[in-house]
Amino acid sequence: MIRLPFLLLSLIFALCAASPAAAHGMKVFAKVVGGEVSGYGFFIGGGRPQGVHWSAAMGQTALAEGQTDATGGFAFVAPAQITAPVTITMNTGDGHIAQATLGPERFGAPPPPAAAKAAPANSPALSSSAPPQGDIAAVVEAAVAREVAPLMERLEQLDARMRMTDLMSGIFLIIGLAGIGLWARGRRK
């Protein structure tokens, strides 16, 4: 019986050496830039779901659907009026289902009256050639969305990263549980 733990432990360490390269669980990344919602699905650790069905809905209203491209990507035009969070659902058809939800705040500037209210009351009068406040806010929102999109993407990837330390913690937690079990049984005797 001494050899079995050795065999199993070597199997575990061989698997640990391989696992950071590829892993499991699907996620969806979505961003809004310039009136278009785009993004992609990815498997945690690597790989993209290619040619799988995706659909987008705002509340109960269906917005768009289609098949992902070779990089697992999707894109559709953002609706003009956002009345509810937009949810993008990807389904590989074998039980892998992932969703991403974009709140209304991700879809650009607030409506013009709110923007006008936010401006300071004593701001200098605008010359007649300057664009209205609402337009400026929309341009700034679009520029910021474009700039932060790569950051959002990186955050999503970091969030889903498989860390070797987590993997080792999991394995040693299991071994620790076995130790606790043996100790508890030993105490009862």
Partner: protein
């Protein structure tokens, strides 16, 4: 695949499968003895690490389950092994979910436990290690099929629009079943040759003496 995330399954499915999985875990814990505890832990660690290694297949990606091997070596002890590994995968990597833990445990552990109950005695009494390996390979294919059926049923009962398509299931689970059969067959025939007692979830007291 076998890791159904949170938020997809209906409450009746979650409660029903959760209760069945809890029953399985209780059954498994009751069967544990001093010899079985380290073994359950080691196989839980193997399953934890093995099911993190995924390979892209077709539009999806698959990973080993090793539920056939666990069922043969642990019997009902497969339930505590799977529930601990799945809970850690959900907590550490966001794979599967904590509310769907019972469903995922049942989908993976029950087919393995049944393979252990039905094919286990035949594997332990097999005339040769090769025959034991072949039976284990068959058991693994059945366990993978059982898991696929469990996942499909849980999704069908909760959200019929998410029911896996038979074609995609065939594309992804069939290669998985074949690889699983090869890996499990190799492991079991190797153990039958070098350490046949490893294939017994429990030993009778007179057998359980230090080698």
């Amino acid at each position: 695949m076998a890791h159904i995330p949170d938020g997809l399954l209906g409450l009746p499915v979650l409660i029903g499968t959760g209760a069945l999985a809890a029953g399985g875990v209780a059954l498994g814990l009751r069967a544990l003895d001093d010899r079985a505890i380290p073994r359950v832990a080691l196989l839980a660690a193997v399953f934890f690490a093995a099911s993190l290694v995924a390979v892209p297949v077709g539009p999806s990606s698959v990973h080993l389950l090793l539920s056939g091997v666990m069922g043969i070596m642990l019997g009902w002890g497969i339930f505590p092994a799977v529930v601990v590994a799945l809970a850690l995968q959900a907590a550490l990597f966001g794979m599967g979910g904590l509310t769907s833990l019972g469903t995922n445990t049942l989908n993976i552990a029950l087919p393995g436990a049944l393979v252990g109950v039905v094919l286990g005695p035949m594997i332990r009494n097999a005339a040769s290690p090769a025959r034991a390996g072949a039976l284990a390979a068959l058991g693994s294919v059945l366990a993978v099929a059982g898991t696929a059926a469990g996942v499909a049923l849980a999704l069908f009962l909760s959200a019929p629009e998410f029911t896996p398509a038979a074609k995609v299931l065939g594309l992804t689970y069939l290669p998985l079943a074949l690889v699983e059969a090869a890996v499990s067959g190799t492991i079991i025939s190797f153990l039958a040759r070098v350490e046949p007692r490893a294939l017994h979830p429990r030993l009778s007291p007179e057998e359980d003496l230090p080698a």
